[in-house]
């Protein structure tokens, strides 16, 4: 049910933005994320930015994974 791709906004117009996905660029609509800023990552689905990626939460998720992984590793060392 719809994979989206995270893309970095490099240029912002009124209703659209140019985004970069690992060096390739394309134009996406930003009507659904009017507050997006250059430098933000957005989730793109069918040519539209649907959501802005929240960096704090993203970091937090990675930390959670790492915590679990580290816990296991240290257990393994024990």
């Amino acid at each position: 049910m719809c994979v989206g791709v995270p893309a970095k906004v490099v240029k912002k117009n009124e209703y659209s933005a140019i985004v970069d996905v690992m060096g390739s660029q394309t134009t996406v609509g930003i009507i659904f994320v009017p507050d997006v800023n250059i430098g933000d990552y957005v989730i793109v689905h069918a040519g539209q930015a649907m959501s802005i990626v929240d960096e704090t939460y993203a970091k937090q998720s990675v930390e959670e994974w790492r915590k679990l992984v580290d816990a296991r590793n240290s257990e393994a060392i024990k």
Binding site: G4, F32, A46, Q60
Partner: protein, 370 residues
């Protein structure tokens, strides 16, 4: 930030996560004497779980059941036949997502019609259809509006754009589906035993975390909103088992970087403006009341179903069990046609051809003949 995003597919994280999930699953098995069972609601989850190898790695420990989340697969056969018949009309340009092209109708596919000379175009970005309509004023341009909550907002954008530019030759053939009614149907039917749902990451962008409260309140079942990368999938399953072990029902937002509590409010405004609830027929299920969205009457000029009539006969009967696959009752390899009469080169049901179809996922990523 890219560095952070990349971590979700970092094997150094993902491999230990697999072990962590397996360990947690074993704990569940010891406690309950069976594997924990979760339904991934979303077709893209099915694909990602298979493609990344998560399903294979966990197959002995966790029962991951595909749900009704592939928009092409859940579309009623009569509706598929209608879209193919629509394309037969003269002076039309049919625009569609690529998945629809090879979906078997009762007699033919859209691809067959294209090969026979019909103007059927696969769009990467649906709003392209508006441009096509402008460039072909003497043709009727019809977009096949198949999709769940992530795609539906984009259909409203198209209508908004067509309205703004006063485009008279554009319309959408609406056959959309909603997640909540079908989950309620499955739970009411009680055919599958589940320890929780893996809730769709991107549909949840629109719906928001709070929208799933009914699962807990009315059905006492858990849901974990989950992303699509390897680590996200694994951690979503980990959290699901953890919850199941406690015996408590809860909704966990395991994808908070893009899913908020209340969903994208701008999108809600667009949908409220243009759409109204309608009954929809689901493959293998039948009509579920208020399980789809249609254009409000004041936008009928953009509603292809109001503008064009198509005649379809009784759908052809096959031994395809897509209906049961969608409901999570069987896994694809339990269908007697799987891999024999039915394979990606000759799909008998939509589940074998959609990029999110369970049968396609099994065939491509999970056959074990090696």
């Amino acid at each position: 930030m890219l560095e952070i995003l990349k971590q979700s597919s970092n094997p150094e994280i993902c491999k230990p996560l697999v072990e962590a999930v397996i360990e947690k699953a074993k704990e569940f098995q010891q406690k309950f004497g069976r594997r924990p069972a979760f339904m991934e609601v979303c077709g893209s989850h099915t694909m990602s779980l298979a493609r990344t190898g998560v399903k294979q790695c966990l197959k002995d420990e966790v029962n991951l059941i595909s749900g009704p989340g592939c928009p092409v697969c859940v579309t009623d056969q009569r509706s598929i036949d209608a879209m193919i018949a629509l394309a037969e009309g003269e002076n039309r340009i049919i625009c569609t997502f690529g998945d629809m092209m090879r979906v078997p109708g009762s007699n033919k596919t859209l691809l067959d019609s294209k090969i026979a000379g019909k103007d059927i175009r696969v769009l990467y970005s649906p709003v392209e259809a508006i441009k096509i309509a402008e460039e072909n004023p003497d043709k009727e341009v019809i977009f096949l509006g198949v999709g769940f909550e992530t795609t539906i907002p984009i259909l409203t954008l198209m209508v908004g754009e067509a309205e703004k530019r006063s485009i008279g030759n554009f319309s959408i053939w609406m056959t959309t589906k909603l997640v909540e009614p079908v989950l309620r149907y499955l739970l009411d039917a009680g055919e599958v035993n589940l320890d929780g749902f893996l809730l769709p990451g991107h549909v949840s962008i629109v719906l928001g975390e709070n929208s799933y409260k009914y699962l807990v309140d009315e059905y006492h079942i858990s849901g974990v909103i989950t992303g699509f990368e390897t680590a996200e999938l694994l951690f979503g399953i980990y959290k699901s088992i953890e919850l199941a072990l406690t015996g408590q029902a809860a909704i966990i937002n395991n994808h908070p970087s893009i899913v908020t509590k209340t969903g994208n409010q701008v999108i809600h405004q667009w949908m409220d403006k243009y759409l109204t609830e309608c009954d929809e027929a689901w493959r293998g299920i039948g009509v579920i009341p208020n399980s789809g969205l249609d254009l409000k009457p004041e936008y009928s000029q953009f509603n292809a179903k109001k503008r064009f009539t198509v005649e379809v006969g009784e759908p052809r009967k096959t031994k395809c069990r897509c209906g049961e696959v969608i409901r999570g009752l069987i896994s694809p390899n339990e269908c007697s046609l799987f891999g024999k009469a039915c394979h990606p080169m000759n799909p008998v049901g939509p589940c074998m051809v959609s990029a999110e179809g369970s049968c396609a996922a099994y065939y491509q990523y999970m056959r074990e003949s090696f």
